[in-house]
């Protein structure tokens, strides 16, 4: 008999893009931040990231085994979660806690929901909040880049201090390139921006999300009589805006949904920063907005083509 060909629905060709290629692009986008962290905080930053990534992958491996699922630990998503978790931790965090946080991120943040694509909350942020709730002191032990203990700029702001006075020189530039106290991957707005631009160029994320968040925080700071530059350059706003609020799985897929989400993140962040007891607000606000993502998706369905009046 003659050859029988495979049949199936059109389209018969597909993009070369896969989940893996998208995820590894995000990993690539996170590399500048890693390099800057190593530069400012030393090799400890690299080791911490490696520990976080490996424990995330192992946690995913064990979960998938238990769930009797196909092992997909190299799809890149666990690597991203591990990296992000390390990046939002202070470099002083002892290794056991890194491991705990990373494992919690994967297991509670992702696998209990059914794995990649099914989780509601950003896994790394969930891990971070878990640690913050369990060992709050550990997560605020920031060091300055010279290794001395230091408070974040937001701490100073909360105490009503003038930053110029504290640092003795213009600190915008320092803050922009990452020369300040903070979690290891949050400090350099520049490195995060480079990574973010790469993802926008690759069309993996929509520029409207980070732009909405950052400009909304800027404007809100102005309204409340705060220095807007400090607010956008500190407290993990850039990493949140470019790498967490843009997480595909847990944030809206519609354009208007992204803007609503971004505005929500900005408002809640400012609310927490100005009124709450936490110096940071980005992590909480993204998690809160994650919770309403499916609702936002539902009510921001794109307007279909042809939804025009017909002249009947």
């Amino acid at each position: 008999m003659d050859k029988l060909y495979r049949v199936g629905q059109s389209p018969h060709i597909r993009t070369k893009e896969t989940i893996e290629s998208v995820m590894y692009d995000v990993v690539i986008a996170l590399l500048p931040t890693l390099l800057v962290a190593i530069y400012f905080f030393g090799m400890k930053a690299l080791y911490m990231t490696l520990v976080a990534v490996i424990s995330a992958m192992l946690a995913e491996y064990v979960s998938l085994k238990l769930m009797k699922r196909e092992i997909t630990i190299f799809d890149g998503s666990a690597i991203i979660t591990g990296m992000l978790f390390a990046f939002i931790s202070p470099v002083t965090l002892p290794y056991p806690y890194i491991i705990i946080g990373s494992v919690v991120s994967i297991v509670i943040g992702k696998m209990v929901f059914g794995g990649l694509g099914h989780n509601v909350f950003n896994p790394a942020l969930l891990g971070r909040v878990f640690l913050m709730a369990s060992w709050p002191a550990l997560l605020t032990r920031y060091v300055n880049v010279d290794g001395s203990a230091g408070a974040t700029t937001l701490d100073y702001l909360k105490k009503g201090k003038d930053l110029m006075e504290v640092f003795g020189h213009n600190v915008y530039l320092d803050m922009f390139i990452g020369k300040m106290a903070g979690s290891m991957g949050e400090t350099s707005a520049l490195a995060l921006l480079i990574g973010g631009l790469y993802l926008i160029y690759k069309k993996h994320i929509d520029w409207k999300m980070p732009v909405t968040i950052i400009s909304a925080v800027f404007i809100l700071a102005l309204i409340f009589g705060q220095n807007p530059f400090y607010h956008i350059l500190s407290g993990g706003l850039f990493i949140g805006a470019f790498f967490m609020a843009t997480d595909m799985v847990t944030t809206p897929y519609t354009t208007s949904g992204k803007i609503i989400f971004g505005l929500g993140v900005a408002c809640i962040t400012m609310l927490i920063r100005l009124k709450g007891s936490y110096p940071e607000g980005v992590a909480f606000s993204i998690l809160i907005m994650n919770g309403v993502t499916s609702l936002i998706n539902k009510y921001t369905k794109p307007k279909k083509f042809g939804e025009v009046k017909s002249n009947e």
């Binding site: 060909y5 389209p11 060709i13 083509f305």
Partner: protein, 436 residues
């Protein structure tokens, strides 16, 4: 230069270069031809011949009194050997007339009308129907019906689709290049039938030569050329109308609603041949391509030629070929076997290898939204696979499923390779059944 475009869409690898500069070749006329009695959307035709009858080239051999029908003609002279149910490239099997070629090429004569301007609209429409002209972009909608829109809709623009946005295909491109005069005259016949002044011919930017030649010729008739951005599905009727005229066809309506009739360039050539040369639709120009064939070509073949003969000619590598497709890779129909004939809607035959298809396993949706950005109809494709799996047909309707034009853009871009188009097709069938 202004490039006309629409929102959404994708940029699949074009692969047009495989056949772009190849002249249309006449393919050998086969010993045996198989003419399915269904080459239009509508009902199956009644055969007008019996086994043993001698037929001439161009003779009508099947017709029906059904509204949405268009007759078929013999593409050779010879003897009817069999009339039986045979595999059919669109779906399943269909009653087919099998004719043995006697190579006499004895022609069945039809009147020729050089001065088509002197004919009335109804006379022209009758020729268009009798000569079996259907939309040759692949949809095979009977052209005489499309050229006769409801009286209450005032048509003010005739839009010609020369986009040929499907990757690989070059048939329309070559026709515009090699038969420019005939194509444009065919368009003028359309214009005459519709009684409209304004004619716009949309051609994608990547067909530079065709744009140039068509512009030259069309300007003699006062027709406009709109250069379109190269992007898929630029040739989708609704997308084309939006891009060129900035008119949006309301959901569930036809182009006539916004005063437009869209016709394809290859169909224009058929109309020219029918009216001026008295020739029914018995040939088809198509692109045979894909990495599974050694010598891709643009061929003029007799309708009823088996795919197998053509594929042997272009030296298909059967080992390497994973899918055999009639039409383009985005909306074409996958064929089980090579034992199917060329029909009026065959714009191409593609032998696709694994390498160019990029198949991979379907995974969970990561809500990346890429399908939403790609959808030219502004739908939320990601919902379809999910809802179809849970058989939520009503819910699918809420996501405007019936507005989907099945262009496949969403499936193409999905990094998780979700079965989006599959879900859509199942959902549409279920919904239609429910609404009946």
């Amino acid at each position: 230069m202004k490039l006309f475009s629409f929102k959404g869409g994708i940029h699949p690898p074009e692969n047009k270069d495989l056949t772009e500069n190849l002249k249309i070749e006449d393919f050998k006329i086969p010993k045996e031809i198989c003419i399915p009695l269904l080459q239009h959307i509508g009902v199956v035709l009644e055969p007008l011949v019996k086994v043993g009858d001698r037929v001439k080239k161009g003779q009508k051999i099947g017709d029906s009194s059904g509204f949405l029908s268009s007759p078929v003609h013999s593409s050779v002279s010879g003897v009817v050997k069999k009339i039986e149910v045979r595999p059919f490239p669109v779906s399943g099997r269909v009653n087919t007339v099998i004719i043995e070629n006697d190579y006499e090429e004895e022609i069945f004569e039809y009147p020729k009308y050089k001065e088509y301007e002197k004919l009335t609209k109804d006379e022209l429409l009758k020729i268009v129907r009798e000569m079996g002209i259907v939309g040759q972009g692949g949809a095979t909608f009977p052209t005489h019906i499309k050229l006769n829109p409801p009286k209450d809709k005032k048509i003010d623009v005739l839009l010609i689709n020369g986009a040929e946005c499907e990757p690989y295909l070059n048939a329309d491109n070559r026709l515009m290049l090699e038969q420019t005069e005939k194509v444009v005259k065919g368009i003028d016949i359309f214009r005459h039938i519709l009684g409209v002044q304004r004619v716009v011919i949309g051609i994608e930017e990547n067909k530079e030569e065709a744009i140039h030649k068509m512009k030259e010729e069309a300007s003699k008739y006062g027709m406009e050329i709109a250069v379109l951005k190269t992007k898929y599905p630029q040739g989708g009727e609704k997308q084309l109308i939006k891009a060129v005229l900035d008119r949006e066809v309301p959901s569930g309506k036809l182009p006539s609603e916004v005063g437009v009739v869209v016709q394809n360039t290859a169909t224009a050539l058929s109309v020219y041949e029918a009216v001026i040369e008295g020739k029914p639709v018995i040939e088809k120009v198509l692109t045979v391509s894909g990495l599974g064939v050694k010598t891709p070509k643009n061929l003029r073949v007799r309708i009823g030629t088996q795919f197998k003969e053509i594929l042997d000619y272009v030296e298909i590598d059967r080992e390497k070929t994973e899918k055999l497709v009639m039409g383009g890779p985005m909306m074409g129909l996958a064929q089980h076997s090579e034992e199917v004939p060329v029909i009026k809607g065959t714009s191409g035959i593609l032998a696709l290898t694994k390498k160019e298809m990029n198949p991979y396993k379907s995974r969970a949706c990561i809500t990346c939204g890429k399908c939403v950005d790609a959808c030219p109809m502004n739908l939320s494709p990601l919902m379809y696979a999910k809802l179809a799996r849970f058989q939520e047909w009503k819910e699918m309707d809420k996501y405007d499923l019936l507005d989907c034009i099945e262009c496949g853009s969403c499936s193409f871009v999905c990094p998780a390779n979700r079965p989006l188009t599959e879900g859509i097709k199942i959902g549409k069938a279920k919904l239609r059944a429910m609404k009946r």
